[in-house]
């Protein structure tokens, strides 16, 4: 079953086209990654899919719902982690989890989720006192609190220490195994390679490659006599419109 179907998605700011005719589909239970340099249009793309921004052209269907027209229904079944979003300074971790859990019909167990992201000890800590990585973990937990059928995660593990990254990967695999579809944006090649079934590489608002990590790597062949890795493939695919 197709969960996300994006067709000719285009978004402009002023006369700059920042997402330019992007099309792809994501199947149920898939972990789909979006790679791209800073400013490539990744956040714009996933926020259009989440129904937070309105596309200028193209269509987006998520579980058969239109991302713009059926926003309200969509919000009940997706969980979104935004790249940049904070909480109220004095809101405590446990309070935030309980509050957000109350917004959904069938929420996850908030204590279990806090344990899964390693924040059990911080349950009474106000948001402002959390470290950057702890804020990121809370943001992941809040994206998953509603037991979503689709999780959209923008820069999933940015700011996390190596152990927290591995634990987050495990959490993502767990929800994938329960049938949840995952759309994630990342700058980490190891994360993309280990976690994602397929990857779309965005460059200048356009998809320049879309394949499994292994196939993207195989397409590059050898680089300087070494077997290429995903980073080589990424670098070969992007930055073509650079001025320098």
């Amino acid at each position: 079953m197709t969960v996300i179907e994006v067709n000719g998605l285009t978004k402009r700011y002023g006369d700059r086209t920042v997402v330019d005719g992007v099309s792809f589909t994501v199947a149920e239970g898939e972990v789909f990654g979006i790679l791209g340099e800073n400013g490539a249009g990744k956040t714009t793309t996933v926020e259009c899919i989440s129904g937070l921004r309105t596309p200028d052209a193209g269509s987006i269907s998520v579980f058969g719902l239109d991302s713009s027209a059926d926003r309200e229904e969509l919000r009940r079944i997706i969980g979104v982690q935004l790249q940049e979003s904070q909480l109220q300074d004095r809101l405590r971790v446990g309070e935030a989890m309980q509050l957000y859990a109350s917004f959904y019909r069938d929420p996850a167990d908030w204590r279990e989720l806090l344990a899964a992201v390693g924040l059990t000890e911080q349950v009474r800590m106000p948001y402002a006192k959390l470290s950057g990585g702890q804020k990121q973990r809370l943001s992941i937990a809040l994206a998953l609190i509603g037991n979503p059928r689709l999780a959209i995660l923008d820069e999933l593990t940015t700011g996390l220490d190596p152990r927290a990254r591995r634990e987050t990967w495990r959490l993502i695999r767990q929800i994938r195994d329960r049938g949840v579809t995952v759309l994630l944006v990342t700058h980490f090649m190891d994360e993309a390679e280990r976690l994602c079934d397929r990857l779309a590489v965005l460059d200048g608002g356009k998809i320049v490659a879309l394949d499994t990590p292994a196939a993207l790597i195989a397409n590059v062949g050898d680089v300087d006599g070494y077997r290429a890795n995903l980073e080589d493939a990424f670098l070969a695919l992007t930055g073509t419109d650079r001025d320098n």
Binding site: S50, L52, E72, G79, Q88, R90
Partner: protein, 247 residues
């Protein structure tokens, strides 16, 4: 429990955890009355300096206006602007709850704090200085509600049209102090110069303050003042709803 109720409960707790704004909303009006009562000789006696009136009766409605201005232009405005700038509203937009519910919760909490602070102030005035309260309660309530509505509308409007929290706070301050002046904080009763008085008639807090002063001494407010406050409520409120950006 509805999401709005839960959000209001959470925001109320957060409000009380912010000591400075909680103090200014809840305790400041009462503290101000105590300070004025001790600074002005014969606060509760008719005084030739105040046109034969009791100073306390001139000051209390003005303190109510000041309470309205303080809660709306500082506490409410800064929270709204921050919630947008920091992405709190945007995060809520990803859930089944609309970000407008958070604004509703903030309005509820600030109005409740304003009413509690005003009630505490009137109680203090009664206990410490023997104030008998307004002579015309219904008129006072109408004027107070319209004044609070008008200044809330202005706060929402400023939050809607300013690009960021810094600009919101800056413009809030630029509006706050002239509003206090037009409300008569520094020139109670008939002390305000005529020219300023004519401007004050058309400012939201100036109109509300005069309407409350009239109600306090037992009169009905001038229709002009009620109309001005109601007009600000409707116009700034409608503009804010149209212009507000959620991110």
């Amino acid at each position: 429990m509805s999401a709005l109720t839960r959000l209001t409960g959470a925001e109320a707790r957060l409000f009380l955890r912010e000591p400075v704004s909680a103090f200014f909303a809840l305790a400041f009006p009462a503290v101000l009355v105590i300070v004025l009562g001790n600074a002005i000789p014969a606060f509760s006696e008719p005084s030739p300096d105040f046109g034969g009136q009791r100073p306390i009766n001139l000051y209390l409605p003005i303190v109510l206006a000041l309470a309205i201005g303080t809660v709306t232009m500082t506490s409410l405005l800064s929270v709204l602007a921050q919630y947008r700038e920091r992405g709190v509203l945007k995060r809520l937009a990803t859930t089944p709850v609309k970000p407008s519910a958070l604004i509703g919760a903030q309005l509820g909490v600030n109005v409740a704090a304003l009413v509690a602070g005003s009630a505490l102030m009137m109680l203090t005035a009664a206990v410490a200085f023997g104030s008998r309260g307004p002579e015309n309660w219904p008129a006072l309530l109408v004027a107070y509600l319209l004044g609070a509505g008008a200044m809330t509308g202005v706060a929402l409007f400023i939050a809607a049209v300013t690009p960021n929290a810094r600009a919101s706070a800056g413009i809030g301050t630029l509006v706050y102090f002239p509003m206090l002046f037009f409300a008569g904080v520094w020139t109670p009763g008939d002390m305000m110069p005529d020219g300023a008085q004519r401007v004050a008639d058309f400012t939201p807090l100036g109109a509300a303050s005069q309407a409350m002063q009239a109600a306090w001494s037992g009169d009905w407010p001038q229709p002009l003042h009620l109309a001005v406050a109601a007009g600000y409520t409707l116009i700034t409120g409608a503009l804010a709803i149209r212009l507000f950006r959620w991110q």
